[in-house]
Symmetry: C2
Subunit: 359 residues, 2 copies
């Protein structure tokens, strides 16, 4: 295994403490399953160092009392499950919003996303073993080993999502144990939801009748209207970001590329939260005309991204390439970053635009 420092050197690092980094887009587009070392990293505190041999997961249910499970217990008691799913930061493509007005947080390009085979056990199997039964308005709260402003990282998801087949406690990514920066020894994987709801370095799971009161859940990762500012924001009024909206990005050619005239392959990804991507339109003229890309999607992986590709014949001059996706509900994306701007810079999902110059 490479060292963390070696892996950091391969990424675009937005910050070291906490460590936040994304891959260059051409490398992101090189493989449907993102190698763990190319996978974006979003952390909110220092990376915890955990001994897998002594690690325990505690599962609390108010009625039945706690379970206390080692990695060996989890593997022995529950069937192994693998889900191919895309993980995406709520701040992916935030950089595009900065052209409208300042936003808080790291200026992620379109690389705060990746897809992996996640292997572990179904969270629902563990919860059912703890005596949990489906119930409206119940929430599954996670607490982790990383510390954010003096408190353990904590978030929650609705019980229905926790019991869904696709939601895992994962030990492995693409067939290998999780890397330290991806949550070793165990993390939640909540496909379709923003990455913030898939906590790494898990230590406790609690079923309760209210969302987590941890600031990460109660205050952060909320979507606000465009007229709300850091000063006026009331977290209780913001929308809790869970399922992510329709999005698409151009990974090749890169922004500002100088190309030869003639056939230019244009490639990228698209993703639709809990829906399917059914069409991807690509424009060589800033959205005045569109052509349809060829789609590549893994069968049986409804929560994984769709890769797309098209060859455009670009004449000499400056061009704005643009992409927009359509989902299975016939929904498409807004055209301008202004249309989704919010002061936190979340859910940046307007047409992705890349200017290139053809010689």
């Amino acid at each position: 295994m490479s060292s963390l420092a070696e892996r950091m050197a391969r990424l675009i690092v937005h910050g070291e403490h906490p460590y936040n980094a994304e891959p260059p887009l051409s490398r992101l587009r090189a493989s449907y399953r993102t190698p763990a070392g190319d996978f974006y990293v979003r952390s909110h505190g220092d990376l915890p160092e955990i001994d897998a041999a002594t690690w325990r997961l505690s599962v609390d249910d108010k009625l039945l009392g706690p379970l206390d499970l080692s990695l060996a217990d989890l593997r022995a008691r529950f069937p192994e499950a693998t889900v191919t799913a895309t993980m995406q930061c709520a701040g992916n493509r935030r950089a595009d919003m900065r052209a409208v007005a300042p936003v808080s947080g790291d200026p992620w390009d379109a690389g705060a996303i990746g897809t992996a085979d996640w292997t572990g056990v179904r969270l629902g199997d563990v919860l059912r073993a703890a005596g949990v039964t489906p119930g409206a308005d119940l929430h599954v709260a996670f607490e982790s080993h990383d510390v954010v402003e003096g408190r353990p990282y904590g978030v929650s998801i609705p019980l229905a999502k926790a019991l869904a087949d696709e939601t895992l406690l994962a030990f492995a990514m693409n067939g290998a144990p999780l890397l330290p920066e991806h949550g070793f020894p165990a993390r939640a994987v909540v496909p379709g939801f923003a990455g913030v709801r898939s906590p790494k370095w898990l230590r406790r799971i609690t079923v309760q009748d209210h969302p987590s009161d941890n600031p990460m859940q109660a205050d952060d990762y909320k979507l606000f209207p465009p007229d709300v500012t850091a000063e006026t924001a009331d977290p209780a009024e913001g929308h809790t970001i869970e399922t992510m909206p329709l999005n698409a990005a151009i990974c090749e050619p890169p922004r500002g590329a100088r190309l030869e005239a003639g056939d230019t392959p244009v490639r990228g990804y698209a993703i639709a939260g809990d829906r399917a991507v059914v069409r991807v339109d690509v424009s060589g003229d800033g959205g005045r005309s569109w052509r349809q890309a060829t789609l590549e999607h893994e069968a049986g992986a409804p929560f994984a991204w769709t890769f797309w590709e098209i060859v455009l014949d670009l004449p000499p001059g400056e061009h704005e390439l643009a992409v927009r996706a359509w989902d299975s509900a016939g929904q498409t994306q807004p055209a301008l970053p202004d249309d989704t701007w919010n002061f936190k810079g979340y859910l940046s999902a307007s047409w992705h635009r890349v200017r290139v110059e053809v010689a």
Copy 2:
């Protein structure tokens, strides 16, 4: 019961043969449940006249052979179910697309939508009684008594949706038997899907391994890219419209209203297919600034629309009011009708804009 002619006189009639009509928007917004007589009517052939006493529904399963059910059989054998759901035509708001370029079909304003309490039996209960079990890539095909270009009306839906709790064989609308124009004596109600998939005047249901090959399913109600025309369209390449996209409309004040200066109530609806509407933004200046409307949504009715209301203080002059909704995935609508234009005029779902003049 009023006569059909009396009910027609209350609606904006786009055509009499087939009969297509929608209510004025202010009356649509007057009640969360749309009175049957105010409910839009979309038909593709003449209205069938059916004797409820002799009506039979045949349910075919290739393995188990047919069931043949009277209304009394359906009522006796299966528990009654009521679902509050919105029905919407795929062509709702088509008129807004005509400003971009010509489109085929009737020029529906924003009234090709309505909400009702639908009462009947669960389609899933009937299918299970016929021996149907869940299976990937199976389809439930419907055939009806109305005739379109010499063939019975026919469409299909995926089996998973047919087995879902919300999908009904409905006999009643808002507590009264279906009106003739709404499918008497029985229709399908497939909440969240375009109205075309909720056939009226049912006569046969077949479970099969392919979608219906009826032209209504195979050729019509497909979403095409903006560069495709009636001449170049290949139905096999279009997206089959099922779940409807996020949409919102201003119902009051009406387009072109002349208002007094001061507080102006602005009211309308929003709907998000199989998701929830979480926010509605309203603009008094064509989208340069936005305020958030108050939302009204019926508890326990995930497939029903959301009503919204806001009071704007409009100064004298001409104003473009606009509305856009946000769904539970943080998705919003495109700004311009150009962004969703297609030659069939389906899924018109850009910001709804209404020009008014304040004295």
